[in-house]
């Protein structure tokens, strides 16, 4: 298996003339991009950065720039399709792909010349063996039967028969090989999942080059946290990766623990935290955060009256007066904030919330500025999918990219405000879906469709927001339903995308279980269903489980999907 080692990249970085960076529109990609930009700037490698939000944009950008660049770096896009087939590049074009999408297309893995994959050494790719999928063309016609060698007719006939037998044997072998190949590829490509965060891979690269900085480490942390917030990786992988990052954090930030030698308060420092997983709670009020975090909202069932009562009991159990809890977190009484985490954890255990605390990191600079990694993830995601401003999508991308720099605090705060709106909208939509029983079982999966007039429905025409909504909805649904079978089903969610063009955006997410491996089969399922019904679908997103389709084709598409998966 040919995977580029980091030393390879090192050498190339020294000789690279100019590079084109194609960056996907998710927070992990943005973080990886920031790290790579910093590395390039350090070494004066000229580059151009083009944001892409889907396959079409990727192709367009490639076509526009292919005359000017020989080296392309793709971040969080391109690994799961046959790149050479789609882009048809010249022979001397080189692609560096740093993508957390799995499975990596076998052509990309086995291509030795044009595609270099940036993958961590210990990331298990599970790629099928070369000989099982590729085969050189062998000579099939060996015309030994036609040689005139003056042998007797009976011998000739025998040799002819032997030939025929040989040929049929070979043909059968080929067919068997092809059938096995199809099976292997089907198994390999059936489930989509995610590997190590691209930001972490980039940070690794920086570390190997001894050019890693605390800033880059923070971006790596945010990239990993984005994978966690979006539920793209398993709990175990998250904890393992946190462990890896923690070692780096100690290495960069140990000076803070020394009382005498510590750095000025204005210097940026990262700290490990075993903090509450309440979204944005330090920039909001504790009450709002409890209501709008999917974990607490689902466990306490806050969409029902009983749930609200349970919340009050929960707060009473901790001795937190309502007035305090509804205030801005920073204005809460210090006495209440002192042992808040331990207190909440204790009470949460009584109410069935055993995982209210999570391992994460926080960043500190100046007296006022403290943020948890998840805060940044929510803020950046909201900036990237901001529907409030008219303008090209790339505007949002640029703003989100800017907000990751510490000098752009105003953009970060704007992102935090947008994130609060987004989280509130999600919880309200979830509550209304559950209360009005909008989640119905279609047999092999659950289905929920948002109607056009639903409040905040425009927010959910964006892929990441819709995915977040779906995950939170599924969590809540699993907590609310008594049907044991339904708890194990995956969810397909649809929302109106563009009313004028009559399109709908649809996502499929895997079932919500304790030990879920987060593997998603909807990518292939959507493809097959679309083919079989000739529905007008657009599989533009880099995650294959997110598609657009025409509203009119929706019902036949769903029917096909149901029969496919039954």
């Amino acid at each position: 298996v040919r995977i580029a080692t980091c030393t390879n990249i090192l050498k190339l970085l020294l000789f690279l003339q100019r590079v084109l960076l194609l960056v996907a529109s998710d927070v992990d990609a943005l973080c990886a991009c920031k790290i790579l930009q910093a590395l390039f700037q350090c070494d004066h490698v000229q580059y151009t950065l083009v944001p892409v939000s889907g396959w079409q944009e990727l192709e367009t950008a490639f076509l526009e720039h292919k005359d000017q660049f020989k080296y392309f770096v793709l971040i969080n896009c391109g690994a799961n399709v046959d790149l050479l087939e789609i882009l048809q590049p010249e022979e001397d074009v080189l692609f560096f792909v740093c993508d957390s999408h799995r499975p990596i297309n076998v052509v990309n893995v086995y291509n030795e010349t044009q595609i270099k994959l940036l993958v961590k050494q210990d990331d298990d790719l599970d790629v099928p063996a070369y000989d099982d999928i590729f085969r050189d063309e062998e000579d099939e016609e060996e015309d030994s039967g036609n040689e005139s060698d003056g042998s007797e007719p009976s011998e000739k006939r025998r040799r002819f028969e032997e030939d025929v037998i040989e040929r049929t044997m070979r043909r059968r072998q080929k067919r068997e090989w092809e059938a096995r190949r199809r099976e292997i590829l089907f198994d390999y490509e059936q489930y989509e999942y995610h590997g190590t965060s691209s930001a972490m891979v980039m940070f690794d690269l920086a570390w190997i080059m001894s050019k890693d900085l605390n800033d880059m480490l923070w971006w790596a942390i945010v990239g990993l946290t984005d994978q966690w917030v979006q539920d793209k990786i398993t709990q175990m992988k998250y904890v393992t990766d946190i462990g890896i990052l923690q070692r780096h954090v100690s290495r960069h930030n140990h000076r803070n623990e020394d009382e005498e030698n510590s750095l000025s308060i204005d210097c940026m420092r990262i700290a490990f935290e075993y903090d509450l997983r309440l979204a944005l709670y330090q920039h909001w009020s504790l009450y709002e955060s409890l209501c709008n975090t999917s974990y607490t909202s689902a466990c306490l069932k806050l969409w029902s009256v009983q749930g609200q009562k349970r919340l009050q009991e929960f707060l009473a159990d901790m001795g937190l007066p309502l007035k305090q809890v509804k205030q801005k977190f920073n204005s809460m009484d210090i006495s209440l904030k002192e042992n808040l985490r331990e207190m909440i954890e204790e009470s949460a255990n009584k109410f069935g919330m055993k995982d209210l605390r999570v391992q994460t990191f926080s960043i500190h600079f100046g007296f006022k500025n403290k943020f948890l990694a998840s805060d940044i993830v929510y803020a950046t995601t909201s900036l990237m999918e901001n529907i409030e401003k008219e303008g090209p999508e790339t505007d949002n991308f640029i703003k989100a990219l800017d907000s990751l720099s510490r000098s752009n605090l105003d953009k970060l705060h704007q992102g935090l405000d947008l994130a609060k709106k987004q989280l509130r909208a999600i919880q309200q939509t979830v509550a209304s879906c559950i209360c009005t029983n909008l989640v119905i079982s279609q047999g092999p999966f659950l289905y929920c469709s948002l109607m056009e007039g639903t409040p905040d429905v425009k927010l959910f025409s964006k892929p990441v927001s819709l995915c977040l909504l779906s995950k939170y909805l599924l969590k809540s649904f699993v907590c609310s339903t008594k049907n044991k079978r339904c708890k194990l089903l995956p969810l397909v969610m649809a929302a109106p995308m563009d009313v004028e063009q009559g399109t709908v955006i649809m996502v499929g997410i895997p079932p919500e279980t304790e030990s879920s491996d987060k593997k998603n089969f909807f990518g292939r399922a959507f493809e097959k269903a679309a083919e079989s019904t000739n529905s007008r679908t657009l599989h533009n997103h880099f995650d294959m489980s997110i598609i657009e389709l025409k509203t009119e084709d929706r019902s036949k598409f769903l029917d096909a999907l149901i029969s496919l998966l039954s």
Binding site: Q17, Q46, T48, L49
Partner: protein
């Protein structure tokens, strides 16, 4: 690099104003002429009036010259600001004589620059503030199209694309407002 564009407007040469001033000067001069001959022939009380008109003439002269000189100073600053080719909008506001002055100034500056700094000469209009780095990160604010860099390669400047390019190539586009320097 960012403040360059606010060097003051060069409005149309106020031909009317100049004409009025010159008219006034001529009128004053003529009356003075008339009065001088009268004064010579006896009327000494007119001397004060003549002196007064003379002061007015001198003042008008000073004003007109100051106005023209101020314009020239602005035009000279434009050479440092925009380079040797002025944008059409500004060109439009200059009078023919001013254009000629500009061309001659350009030539002097070029001769001087060539004489300094060895064989190739030294472009003094680059890097007026000492640069902090060889390359800078720029963001494209409008669709511009293809832009050629030193080694012959081109960069496609599309809205919202970001580039890391040599500083000296970007300066002009930054002044024109097509690129924006990204500080991070």
């Amino acid at each position: 690099l960012l403040q360059g564009r606010s060097l003051g407007l060069l409005l149309d040469l106020s031909a009317d104003g100049l004409r009025q001033a010159l008219e006034e000067m001529r009128a004053l001069y003529e009356r003075n002429q008339a009065d001088v001959s009268e004064a010579k022939s006896g009327r000494t009380d007119l001397i004060f009036l003549i002196r007064f008109r003379h002061c007015c003439l001198l003042r008008n002269q000073r004003c007109v010259v100051a106005y023209l000189y101020d314009r020239l100073l602005r035009i000279r600053a434009l050479r440092w600001e925009y380079g040797s080719v002025l944008p059409n909008a500004i060109h439009f506001h200059m009078s023919a004589e001013e254009v000629e002055w500009f061309n001659r100034y350009k030539k002097s500056l070029a001769t001087y620059m060539r004489s300094v700094g060895g064989e190739e000469g030294l472009d003094l209009t680059q890097d007026i503030k000492p640069p902090k780095s060889l390359y800078i990160e720029v963001r494209c604010l409008k669709d511009y199209g293809e832009f050629e860099i030193d080694d012959g390669t081109t960069v496609l400047l599309k809205k919202n694309s970001q580039h890391f390019l040599p500083r000296w190539k970007c300066e002009q586009l930054i002044r024109q407002g097509i690129l924006e320097h990204v500080l991070s």
